[in-house]
């Protein structure tokens, strides 16, 4: 995986991104690259700035300085709702589904950016929107099978088990056919078996669907077993970057995780 990726230009490049919240510097000059077909693990203690970085990548936050390039083009002029079309999809740390809608409809919303329509055509249910709906439904059904959501597909999301809702979120993100998928702690709240399954799923998303993955996760077993590269953040700074093996031996990383002085 590593060999052929270093020569190609990166699919996603983060250049010296700085984000401040009042006095807090949540991201302090973060830079790294993500190559097509990689799984990059982004780790760091609580409050390190991982979610803040995700929010920059999906344009919910705007960095004070620095740049974010997707396929060589800056995305900072884009608005959040334009990001699926750019190719960046995401899941949320705290699961942000549409509670009162069914699983199927949640995933259909994921296909919003990949389809077109207007109020008028939709209200009259014109033939061309019907054809498009059929295409969307085919995509959605395939994802429901892929994520094993068949039994709950037509139930409202509200009240489903946490693990199931996490899978719905991944399905929803995949419905937009992203080039890069941002997963924010997908293993949070899952049991041992579910984490194993999730690992296989993330690999399959990369191998079978050709999606590059940026994975934020506290579950070290998962990150170290599936990542090609790991970036470590602590207090808004990148303290290490390398293969899982390299990172695990890095004294700064060990210090950060043991709660010792970071500098």
């Amino acid at each position: 995986m590593q060999a052929n990726t270093t020569s190609a230009p990166p699919q996603l490049a983060v250049h010296d991104v700085i984000v401040r919240f009042g006095g807090i510097v949540a991201l302090d000059g973060i830079a790294f690259e993500l190559h097509k077909g990689q799984i990059l693990g982004l780790i760091g203690p609580n409050g390190a700035g991982k979610t803040t970085l995700f929010n920059c990548l999906s344009r919910l936050y705007t960095p004070a300085s620095g740049d974010i390039l997707y396929d060589g083009t800056s995305v900072l002029s884009k608005r959040p709702h334009e990001m699926p079309a750019v190719g960046i999809g995401r899941s949320f740390q705290n699961v942000a589904l549409f509670q009162r809608m069914t699983v199927r409809d949640n995933i259909r919303v994921g296909a919003h950016a990949a389809s077109r329509s207007d109020f008028f055509s939709d209200a009259l249910h014109l033939p061309w929107v019907r054809r498009q709906e059929a295409e969307v439904d085919a995509t959605v059904s395939e994802l429901i099978d892929y994520l094993d959501l068949g039994d709950v597909a037509d139930l409202p999301v509200d009240g489903l088990p946490f693990g199931t809702r996490k899978r719905v979120e991944i399905a929803r993100a995949l419905a937009a056919k992203p080039g890069v998928l941002l997963l924010d702690e997908p293993a949070g709240g899952l049991n041992h078996d579910e984490v194993g399954e999730l690992g296989r799923l993330i690999r399959s998303i990369r191998d079978d669907r050709g999606v590059t993955v940026l994975l934020v996760e506290h579950h070290m077993g998962l990150v170290m077993s599936i990542s090609d590269k790991v970036v470590v953040l602590s207090f808004g700074r990148k303290i290490a970057e390398g293969t899982p093996a390299e990172v695990q031996q890095n004294p700064d990383v060990i210090a950060a995780y043991l709660g010792g002085p970071a500098e």
Binding site: N94, A96, R100, H112, P156, G188
Partner: protein, 353 residues
Amino acid sequence: MSVNTTTTDGSQAATGSAGSVKAVSLPKPAAASSNAKIMRTAGIVLLIMGLAAPFMAGNFLIFQLTMMLIYGIAILGLNILTGINGQFSLGHGAFYAVGAYTAAIMMDQFGVGYLWTLPVAGIICFIVGFLFGLPALRLEGVYLALATFALAVVTPQLFKLSPFEHWTSGVMGIVISKPEAPFGLPLNPDQWLYFLTLAIGLLAYVCARNLVASRTGRALMAIRDNPIAAGSMGVNTALFKSLAFGVSALYTGVAGALGAIVVQYISPDSFTFTLSVALVVGLVVGGVGWLPGALFGGAFIMFVPNIAEELSKGLSGAVYGAIMILMMYAIPTGLGGLLKAALTALSKRSKTR
């Protein structure tokens, strides 16, 4: 593991803006198809009753039934905004008034045929609603309710202003003549207007249903449930919220135009704040988010004040209020919620058997 992130994740700030309105979502488990059958049968029975009614009722009752349908159309519009998109409005009486004045002025000043006034009223109200929706984007919950309240209070006053008096006749109002049935149909004017309203109401309902089941409708509901996640899925939330305001106003404006034609008279005092409140009451009684509820909401705001009047002439307002409070306690999620509970109980019973 992650304890200090309560404000950092986008999803946290993203609870739906209609959080305090209990919306109806019908159950969709295994019993869904049998429930759908029950609903369809009920719909057909209602439609047959609706078609037969004008041949059995007196003219005044026909007029009342027509008004019930008109309020139903207006409430349907409000439901698209509140139930589907999660935005409040205490100001839909204003759109109703704009629709009514559009129709009346077109007929009175320009001699336009009454049927033509309906699409024009719809388009004008769509534009007004959309333009109102744009700044309203910054407002949520109570603030949006206040802004729409202001709209409802100000709009009737605008029609009294002297610069517009030439068209609106100020406080005097405008008298409209009642249209006859076309093509020599053997219907009296009341029956004709009833059927016209019924046809428009059905069209409005079918369009609303299509909309809700479409890409657009899903985007609107996604915004209601979680605006930040909706945006991250590619929904242009600002545009869709404004469009929802526009479409909602379109429905209510067409209802207002029909109302003007049916009542044959409008004046600024026909559209006080009470009308806006009545529409919200109708919405809640029918069931927020449940489209057929609009019909029952329309019936409630048309007939219940009359019943209250009969119960006590002097205290009709108080009686009406008491009935509303009782309704809220008995069925807080409206008729839609009641129906949902009944259907769920039914399907549970048939499952255990």
